[in-house]
Symmetry: C2
Subunit: 342 residues, 2 copies
């Protein structure tokens, strides 16, 4: 490696991805429908079908800490975050490949627990682990899951939001970051005291059942999952769709254990709900007037779906409405490199 | 992680993979044709088509050393080893996803060179990079490439070898390990002195053109690529096919620069050719009497194809014939964990 002061650590994740996209260029393969820049890549399948591909790498010391997550939970989570990407596209997951780099010191029982966790959640969502790669590691433990998926007819991307659409989110927000902080502050005791927050962080539930219903009713105009944080993921939709957004603060569904945690620790729950990442909820836009259908989908899936704002002209940017108070909603979610969790 | 003396480092790669296979079980998806245990996974596509999936992780300190490989070569190589897996199945590569965990200290120019190397070899073999995942790394640099492929009708696995078939290998053997050793012994000077050996290690050529012709003539009964070493990869074919093999030592094509390197350093070239890994040549079996067709394929592809032995009854095991001298050919190629390069 050349010695230089211009390192990847000095650049934001987005800029680095833009540099990759510039090198890779537009695909010479005409069957590629979506490349870098959405939750998954999409290629043309036979007939109207779409084939989807995604991957997500979990790196020890960056994404997980084995003093707080069990190997079973880690395996489950590594698979869940990929399943969530398929949910974000309105697709059905199919096959997974698992690459792992494992330090020699890992206990064999832990190694097996990791795969049991992956297998369990795979089974739950009709996804088969069909291959992978096993390597020793001179350093950290790394797990990379590749997931394929299929959509019968269409996929839902970040780029279809139109001015006037309503903005919705499934479940609640802020819980995952609070769970992480609770474990940092209270260690293993947090698991008893803030059970739901900790579970929200360690055992995310991919919203595939809601997604499947949303696709069935074809009610979504743009969609993504909340992996980087509401503000950042909403900015992704706005950028891809060429629109702005107004979020009503009072509409944002805050995790029901977060208030107690915030009171005990003195943190402000609002920024946690607005910017906290790794929630794996669905964030989507839908034409105005979709409330009745969405209520039915929420009922059928037993997952809350909450209206949190509406799509506006691009020039208005991203705004947060708190009664009379209107402020800019800056994307402050997670970014690898650059300033990290900004 | 629990504290125990039973760690993954005490087990061989094969045993660990068997444990994964036991946990994952036979797929509940009937469209899965080949799961763990071949060069790629294979699922049913539309009509007679087969869809193939593979991944291969390159870990700093295990697979590469940035003091000898350039980032461009590293990117090229990370893609090449996956392309080689598609060649081993007689399939055409299609799309790649790239996951990387990058230390913050990596120079941006090196980061870009990595992707330029991947893009270049992808273009060469009709493979588009369509997505991936970028993470920071608290430790080592890790690159994981996921590759999809397609076969119009059938794939070639490790399991079709029949008693009486001839055994063939493309190109030559021993060069990659010698190239690695040359760089270890002579550093950058090796690049000038043993140019072909070093290139064989740093810039492997996936044998996709030969593979495509082999598939076209449908002349292969079993196939794999030489990634772990001839002895180990042949053992994989024998185990999967339920057969034994006899290798004629005088038939094994030894890399043409290896003799000079062996003389200069006092190493024995024979074990290097028999057991050295990361060659990415094709090792395959074919019905007796295929010589004429294989000569034609060698001519069309400009890649040598050499007969090195024949398939025998399982009970005979793997044997090495050196004139009158017959010895057991032990699989001594690369294994992660356990005894490493045994």
């Amino acid at each position: 490696m050349s010695v230089t002061s211009d390192t990847v650590g000095q650049h934001g994740e987005k800029e680095l991805i833009d540099r990759i996209a510039a090198i890779i260029g537009k695909s010479f393969r005409h069957d590629v429908l979506i490349s870098i820049g959405d939750d998954t890549a999409v290629v043309r399948g036979s007939g109207d079908a779409r084939l989807l591909y995604t991957c997500d790498m979990q790196v020890q010391g960056v994404h997980f800490d084995l003093s707080v997550i069990t190997p079973y939970q880690l395996g489950r989570r590594a698979m869940a975050v990929n399943l969530s990407d398929m949910a974000a596209m309105g697709a059905e997951p199919q096959y997974a490949l698992v690459s792992i780099a494992v330090p020699s010191s890992l206990a064999v029982t832990d190694f097996e627990e990791l795969f049991k966790g992956m297998k369990r959640i795979g089974d739950e969502y009709g996804t088969a682990i069909i291959g992978g790669n096993l390597s020793s590691s001179a350093g950290n433990f790394v797990i990379d899951v590749f997931l394929t998926g299929r959509a019968a007819r269409k996929v839902y991307t970040r780029s279809g939001a139109k001015v006037g659409d309503d903005i919705y989110v499934t479940g609640s927000l802020g819980g995952s970051l609070a769970g992480l902080q609770a474990m940092g502050a209270f260690g293993k005791k947090a698991v008893d005291q803030y059970r739901d927050l900790v579970a929200k962080h360690l055992e995310p539930i991919p919203r595939l059942r809601v997604s499947s219903l949303l696709a069935q009713y074809d009610i979504v105009t743009a969609m993504t999952d909340v992996s980087d944080g509401l503000s950042t993921d909403l900015a992704h939709i706005c950028e891809a769709s060429g629109v702005g957004a107004e979020i009503q603060l009072k509409g944002v569904p805050i995790h029901n254990e977060l208030a107690a945690f915030a009171q005990a620790t003195g943190v402000d729950p609002i920024p946690m709900a607005l910017h906290g990442g790794e929630e794996y909820e669905l964030l989507f836009t839908s034409k105005a007037g979709s409330e009745a259908v969405l209520s039915e989908i929420a009922r059928q899936s037993s997952v809350p779906i909450t209206a949190i704002g509406r799509v506006v002209e691009r020039e208005s940017g991203l705004r947060l409405i708190d009664g009379e108070n209107v402020t800019a909603l800056e994307p402050k979610g997670w970014s690898h490199f650059g300033s990290g969790n900004r």
